[in-house]
Amino acid sequence: MRPWPLLLVLLVALPLVAGVATLPPHDAPDAPIHTQVGARYLERGVAETGMKNLVTAVLLNYRGFDTFIEVVVIFTALAAVLALPKGSAPVPKGSAPVPKGSAPVPKGSAPVPKGGPQAPEPAAGSAARAARAREEERPEVASDVPVSPVVRFVVRLLAPFIAMFAVAMLFRGHITPGGGFQAAAVFAAVFIALGLALGQARAARLVPVDWRPWLQGVAPLAFALVAWIGWRLTGAFLGYPSDDHTAQEAMGFVLEVAIAVGGGVILARVFLEMET
């Protein structure tokens, strides 16, 4: 065992312990965390936002912009997974011998020196390894493994109920714990379970191909739309009309549904991309 990781960990641990040791005690009701901004949310949050679950109120209303950027982050994850090269077949169409931008280096050039493992990409060099890698890719995972009929039956039986649970969580998110993100994760779980039980192809049909480009971006788009509506109504980006509870509820509802649908589609798509 090498000693330097332990040393590094100790080096980090000491200041961290020193830092947390001098914080105000965490369960005292008069700590700044409870007396400053948080206090106003607790006092006036329900009246100002019309949401009884204050976490949802903070997420969608007071700090709605954070949530906007947060759905952008999951969209980024999907874009990232989609942008990565697929499989290990040669990439470029057209003139193959011209090296792709930066990656491979043509024969004859010395390996890139120093600064890490900067060797040229073994385009031809390790054909054997590439072949083995391709070989390993073929054997399909879970979806082709025969699934016991009992499992298949149970999954098919339960899927609608689990989906209903997600919908319930979504609709009651402003009163009870839960909301868009949790519903999104459960939707994705239903999808993954169906994918395992029935096979990728049938599960993939749940999200029509034509809709995918729109559905995967629906959460940021809905946020932009609601932000624009709020801008028109109140003059502030992502503003909620404070006296109109119907409008508040409608806007919050649109956001929750968009997060659930968009997030669910993105998670399911990431799952599909990684499987194939």
Binding site: V20, A21, D27, A28, P29, G38, L59, T67, A119
Partner: protein, 116 residues
């Protein structure tokens, strides 16, 4: 809960953080490193949630059956955002790991470094 003047909850969080950090720097396996990163992330989230709690407090949901004192809602919103960010980072990292394995046939950093 105090022990030798140290807040035990916070110290436990720092210990989790350090276990994660150790996995990240000491393990050679890329998946292990990623698990370590996830442990670290969860530790920071635990720190934030702990900071927002209040002795005997109820969740910040204003319905019949809950009463003051309430936990602060802002840390909860922060952690919700953080969890989603963490899973996004994990998904991208896993996609990269799959690529590395498809190309080099290994996910051990020691072996990757020895490749020509």
């Amino acid at each position: 809960m105090l022990l030798f003047g140290l807040d035990l909850d916070y110290v436990a969080v720092v210990m989790l953080f350090c276990v994660g950090l150790y996995m990240l720097v000491a393990k050679s396996n890329l998946l292990k490193k990623l698990l370590g990163l996830n442990v670290m992330e969860t530790a920071v989230f635990a720190f934030i949630v702990t900071a927002g709690m209040v002795e005997g407090g109820d969740p910040p949901i204003m319905v019949a059956g809950t009463s003051a004192p309430f936990a602060s809602p802002i840390p909860h919103a922060m952690v919700l955002t953080g969890i989603v960010v963490a899973v996004s980072v994990t998904a991208v990292a896993l996609a990269l790991i799959v690529q590395i394995h498809a190309h080099f046939g290994t996910i051990e950093i020691d072996e990757l470094k020895e490749l020509p």
